[in-house]
């Protein structure tokens, strides 16, 4: 109801403020002025157009992956292998970008992104099938497959078919028809931002406006009721993982055509992992992924500027990020504790919640 909806907005903000507060204490203890740190972070992330552009460049993969993960988490499925799906999407995209001759840019970009999306989806299909029909836990399978994808990527650019001869492990540069050019000078921000925002809208629409999304929510909130309402739990399980894989794959493709225009080792800044926290902080709401993704993107891109302009080590920004992760996790734990009545049990025997029938 309205009460819990307000709480849904307020709690993430409180968590972030708590993280800011505790990190300020750490700054004070290490002789950095919190005011200086935060002001240089803010100006580094938003202070001028190029800085804001760089923030948005980081925002795209975080938010696109995060939106897909939000949907997946809503189904009660914990896909933590988005990093691998992101890498696989990037490989597929670079094959299409490099191996196909020049063609109209819209078509080439579309094909490239489609390849990334499909391969990301397929890479999540296997854990989905294993979970749905064999009961293999998706946390294990997606994580392991994520490492496999990353190692596969190293092989591809170091000695595999995608690697360009030379000392530096990297793929061939994309042809012009597969590259989106920057829209803000001196940044890497391209039209990919619009595609990314479109993807977030699509995730929100899928979750909140379609029967599939309703089914996903029912599955996540009560799998038994999902069966009674006639939903196929295995099919929804597969779909939940596949959809999040598709978003991660799309993000991989966007990173290729919009930012790097070339496959190389360090193209991912752990976006697939950070996106998990982006989705959790957004309480699995694709719309809320926008501010949540922007926050993490700003902490990343602002940190670089902060080190350059104010001489403050980037690690302080990681401290803030780490503390946000910590508080989000602690908050979730509190939720679970409340649901399972742990606190009440600590105080004494079980307390019947009002409105819940009392046995006896």
């Amino acid at each position: 109801m309205s009460h819990s909806r307000v709480e849904g907005f307020v709690r993430p903000i409180v968590l972030v403020l708590l993280a800011f507060l505790v990190s300020s204490l750490i700054m004070v203890a290490t002789h950095y002025s919190p005011i200086l740190v935060f002001s240089s972070l803010i100006s580094g992330a938003f202070g001028n157009l190029p800085n804001f552009g760089s923030t948005l460049v980081d925002f795209i993969p975080l938010a696109v992956i995060g939106a897909g993960l939000a949907l997946c988490f809503q189904a009660g499925l914990f896909n933590i292998g988005a990093e691998g799906q992101f890498w696989m999407g990037a490989f597929a995209a670079s094959i299409v970008a490099v191996r196909f001759a020049a063609m109209p840019i819209v078509l080439h970009i579309a094909l490239t992104l489609l390849a990334g999306t499909l391969v990301g989806a397929v890479y999540a299909l296997l854990p989905g099938l294993l979970k749905a029909y064999r009961g293999a836990h998706e946390v294990i399978t997606t994580m392991m497959m994520s490492y496999a994808a990353i190692e596969f990527g190293h092989y591809l650019v170091e000695s595999g078919p995608l690697s360009m001869p030379g000392a530096i492990p990297q793929g061939y540069p994309f042809v012009a028809s597969a590259s989106l050019q920057p829209v803000i000078a001196t940044t890497q921000l391209s039209a990919a931002i619009f595609i990314g925002l479109g993807a977030i809208v699509a995730a929100a629409w899928l979750l909140y406006r379609t029967r599939l999304g309703l089914g996903i929510q029912i599955l996540g909130k009560n799998p038994k009721a999902a069966r009674v309402s006639g939903l196929s739990v295995p099919v929804l399980t597969v779909l939940g993982l596949v959809i999040s894989g598709a978003f991660a794959g799309l993000a991989g493709g966007l990173q290729m055509v919009g930012v790097t225009h070339q496959l190389f080792d360090g193209f991912s800044d752990q976006f697939g992992f950070t996106a998990i926290v982006v989705a959790l902080l957004a309480r699995n709401n694709p719309w809320a992924v926008i501010p949540s993704g922007l926050l993490f993107a700003a902490l990343d891109s602002g940190a670089q500027a902060m080190q350059m302009s104010a001489g403050i080590p980037v690690e302080l920004s990681f401290v803030i990020q780490g503390l946000i992760v910590f508080f989000v996790a602690a908050d979730r734990l509190l939720d679970v504790a409340r649901r399972k009545n742990w606190l009440a049990r600590l105080r004494g025997p079980r307390v019947p919640a009002p409105g819940v029938k009392e046995v006896g």
């Binding site: 999304g213 309703l214 019947p352 046995v359 006896g360």
Partner: protein, 510 residues
């Protein structure tokens, strides 16, 4: 003679006052019944007495001695023997091991003294008429026998006061009678006995004095001999209640639901059920009685399409549906009220209106484009809230925030307003208070009058007897021949619930 006194107990949970200044006096040799609806505060009071909860005020005295509050160990040492509704036994251990657990008699060498334990248990068994084999594994015992083990355990630990929390919930009528005999036995031996129940007839039968609790407060306290059922019900609910809804003659039509040798295969989690054959006509209620765990859940879920059937046929209005998926069955006119509304029936974190369309949103009139027609769904939910008087009357309230009775009304509204040809209803009044029970029963009889066929699966024999036109008994996965309501008696059905008239031995399928 031992005596239990409870003085001015008050217990709050946040703003909820679960017990408000409750005082009881149970002299030795008397049976005191505590009567109240679910949520009235009976269990809270018992937990306070047993030391499982610490009261905010008041004290408990045994033989005039106050006992430390919130200390279950002290309560046990003071002689309070609590028999919980749900048994706390270890099935893999034998009866004697369960009884002595934590209070093992030792031989001089420190080993567990098996002979002494069994001797003591046999003696207790004999003295209180609680017959049970000390060497038998608990897993092999019937529910009634397990309860005897619980009671023996209490006596073994030196109970002077016996408290039984809803002890008949899982028993057959015959087992209930045996329990009542034992209860009277303890009282004659001079023990105070507290009997907690929400069933009027049981309270009237077994107790010497009855205390009625409503919303945490004592609303009535009188010798049982002076109490009438109507008066007790009114004290319990707070208004006059019709205890038995009038049922008019059935106007039976064509066969609407037919099962032909339906079988559900056993898995690791469920026993084999069937073969079951039955038929229900339009305008008829077929009641399925039986003790919990004899295949009720499997029968209902196979009918609705939640678990696969192994063999046999299900016909809905002449059409075979055993391979038809859940949604299609619903669309064909098969309604389902599951036994556990919170687990199977509702998404507790969804608002009321979404729960109302939970089983129908994929079909018109709620289906629209790729999504749903919210306006249509909300207006239908609003009508349902009005028609079924679901409180607090908002369609945006979360299902979690509704009381049990209103949750059940919501599920019923969803399944009845769809206009089902056949309604499968499992345990429709579980955990509901007397007033809500009356409402649910009326609605089911209305639906029957409108010509629906209803299969009523219930553990409450009284409910089955009150509503059904014919009654069949489910025992170890097999169904008896249906008995017309006019020919059915409590005792007759009760004996069938315990297995009489069913093939014995392995053939019955354990």
């Amino acid at each position: 003679m031992p005596q239990l006194k409870v003085e001015h107990i008050t217990k709050r949970f946040g703003s909820l006052v679960a017990n408000d200044d409750i005082t009881l006096d149970v002299p030795g040799g008397k049976v005191l019944a505590i009567l109240g609806e679910n949520g009235a505060g009976k269990s809270t009071l018992m937990k306070v007495i047993a030391g499982l909860l610490t009261p905010d005020a008041g004290q408990v005295l045994v033989d005039g001695q106050p006992i430390a509050r919130g200390r279950p160990d002290v309560a046990i040492r003071a002689g309070i023997g609590m028999i919980h509704q749900h048994f706390m036994l270890i099935p893999r251990l034998s009866v004697w091991e369960n009884i002595i657990l934590g209070h093992e008699p030792r031989t001089r060498l420190g080993a567990v003294n098996h002979a002494a334990a069994v001797r003591t248990i046999r003696e207790l068994s004999r003295r209180y008429g609680l017959e049970v084999d000390p060497e038998a594994p608990v897993s092999s015992l019937t529910v009634g026998e397990r309860q005897r083990v619980e009671i023996l355990k209490a006596f073994y630990r030196g109970a002077q006061v016996l408290i039984l929390d809803e002890p008949t919930a899982l028993l057959t009528p015959q087992e209930t009678q045996e329990l009542f005999l034992s209860i009277k036995h303890f009282a004659q031996d001079g023990f105070p006995v507290v009997f907690i129940s929400h069933k009027l007839d049981e309270v009237l039968e077994v107790s010497d004095r009855v205390v009625v609790i409503r919303q945490g407060r004592v609303t009535g306290d009188m010798p049982t001999a002076e109490a009438t059922p109507a008066q007790l019900a009114e004290l319990m609910v707070g208004r006059a209640v019709v205890l038995r809804v009038e049922r008019d003659e059935a106007v039976k039509g064509d066969v609407a639901l037919e099962l032909e040798d339906l079988e559900v295969a056993a898995t690791r989690h469920r026993p084999q059920v069937g073969p079951i054959s039955l038929s229900v006509r339009r305008g008829e209620i077929l009641g399925i009685a039986g003790v919990d765990g004899n295949g009720q859940l499997e029968l209902a879920e196979a009918l609705v399409g939640l678990i696969p059937t192994h063999r046999g046929r299900i016909r809905l209005g002449g059409r075979e549906i055993q391979r038809v998926p859940v949604r299609r069955r619903t669309a064909l006119g098969l309604g389902y009220v599951p036994a556990d509304r919170q687990v199977d029936g509702l998404v507790l974190d969804f608002p009321l209106w979404k729960n109302f369309i939970l089983r129908d949103y994929a079909h018109p009139p709620y289906r629209r484009g790729a999504g749903i027609d919210r306006a249509a769904a909300r207006s239908a939910a609003r009508q349902a809230v009005d028609a079924f008087d679901i409180r607090p009357g908002s369609i945006d309230v979360l299902a979690r925030q509704l009381s049990g009775g209103n949750q059940q009304k919501l599920v019923l509204a969803r399944e009845i307003l769809r206009g089902p040809e056949v309604l499968v209803v499992a345990q429709p009044t579980r955990g509901l208070d007397v007033g809500a029970v009356e409402f649910v029963h009326r609605r089911l009889l209305d639906l029957r009058r409108e010509g629906a066929a209803i299969l009523l699966i219930s553990l409450e024999l009284d409910e089955v007897l009150a509503l059904s036109d014919a009654i069949a008994v489910l025992f170890r996965g097999r169904l008896s021949e249906p008995i017309p309501a006019a020919a059915a008696t409590r005792d007759g059905i009760g004996l069938m619930m315990a297995g009489q008239g069913f093939p014995t031995g392995e053939a019955a399928g354990a």
